[in-house]
Symmetry: D2
Subunit: 139 residues, 4 copies
Amino acid sequence: MIPGPPSSIRIRYSEVDRMGLLYHVNYLEYFEVARSDWIRWLWKPYREIEDEGFALVVIEANIKFISPGKYDDLIEIVVSASEWGRSRLIFEYTMKRASDGRKLAEGKTAHCFIDKFGKPIAMPDKLRELLTGHPHINL
Amino acid sequence: MIPGPPSSIRIRYSEVDRMGLLYHVNYLEYFEVARSDWIRWLWKPYREIEDEGFALVVIEANIKFISPGKYDDLIEIVVSASEWGRSRLIFEYTMKRASDGRKLAEGKTAHCFIDKFGKPIAMPDKLRELLTGHPHINL
Amino acid sequence: MIPGPPSSIRIRYSEVDRMGLLYHVNYLEYFEVARSDWIRWLWKPYREIEDEGFALVVIEANIKFISPGKYDDLIEIVVSASEWGRSRLIFEYTMKRASDGRKLAEGKTAHCFIDKFGKPIAMPDKLRELLTGHPHINL
Amino acid sequence: MIPGPPSSIRIRYSEVDRMGLLYHVNYLEYFEVARSDWIRWLWKPYREIEDEGFALVVIEANIKFISPGKYDDLIEIVVSASEWGRSRLIFEYTMKRASDGRKLAEGKTAHCFIDKFGKPIAMPDKLRELLTGHPHINL
């Protein structure tokens, strides 16, 4: 597991439903925002990866909704890279409310590196090095 | 399994990412649109259920992304109620492109009925009857 | 004015706010969905326009919110091309609830044709012909 | 004009279109995020206002799109209260890219205070005091 520093997101008005709760679909978007932060933290902005002609596409996603987030809550998400293979990479997520530390959700997403034609390719060497050489690693 | 008639959704400009592909988070929103259609088809508009003080909240979601949808593609989603218990209900989803029948995604969501205080409650009797008495049922 | 046939959109659960009303930002997205329908109706799918290397970018938008749309309401939007110049095109919108015909919003968006480098270019000849030769035209 | 401190938003992957540019509808959502910051800064969290049974609904919005924001750009938005009446309040917005100060958009939104039945009501006294007594005021 290689956890990054927590990402903070304040729940927007547009993101809650008619019960005033974070709409369930947006948890997955929050995971993505946090994952981008993680990639920037460990390696470089995801924008640069795509500009070089690669993409890290999502092939599976799992979310467990534990307790609802409310409008204007400040949320903290910790992302960890938990497993990887030749072209695959798996992330795990824990989402909490900052004010009381209550866990709101957990999740897992599986990804694959592809080239600009959509073909799966090996993970860039630099990223593999950063993952393998990371001091926090304990898969 | 109690499959409903397919729901049709055309992929909006706002819903694709910079690769021109349906942004992964929106698959989960499409599942919800199709689930609402299913509930309307089997029983009544979900709006009425919430207006009576109940809600069917999502407690877990799983999505397998198989092939990407593109901007302006017409999508068909078949939803089936696949399992249920006292207050729980599980739906499964198959999402295809209408033009060539290509499967784009599969998914599963688990739900729980709650009252207006957020407490889990038994599924409304009428829905249980409709589920149990449905001719297509083969769990 | 060249009005197209009304576009129908059912308000999604994700699109309402904590008051159960269509979130104001989504009116602008609905205008876009209806505008795409209009372009498809008068000319061809907007997807093809972009695939040929052009884009019709928004340079100004104005929305008047008259009465709120509610979750699950069926909405009808009529789009009209109301003015155009060398590279500019202006659309006007009227949005009603289908069930009672109540007007929910009016709007206006101004657009400019650009090439793939972002430079303004003249409107494609074919579109100009369709606009100018249209029987409903009364600017 | 009563400008607040700039609000910062990083453009999310989900918020750009197939050209990699901030989707036009999201400018209006960014205005709202910045307006919430402004209300929190001058007065108190908007959440509390709604919890007390009031709402500040949008009745008109105008956006001028000047230069496109790109995925991962850090954006700064300055909101100013520019005019107000008995129940109305007008905000103006300037949106810039943080890295080069380039202006991306300008906008204006008009709002009205309503009670829980949707009736226009007078602006809360406390807010009127804060607006009128503010040292930066020069309408």
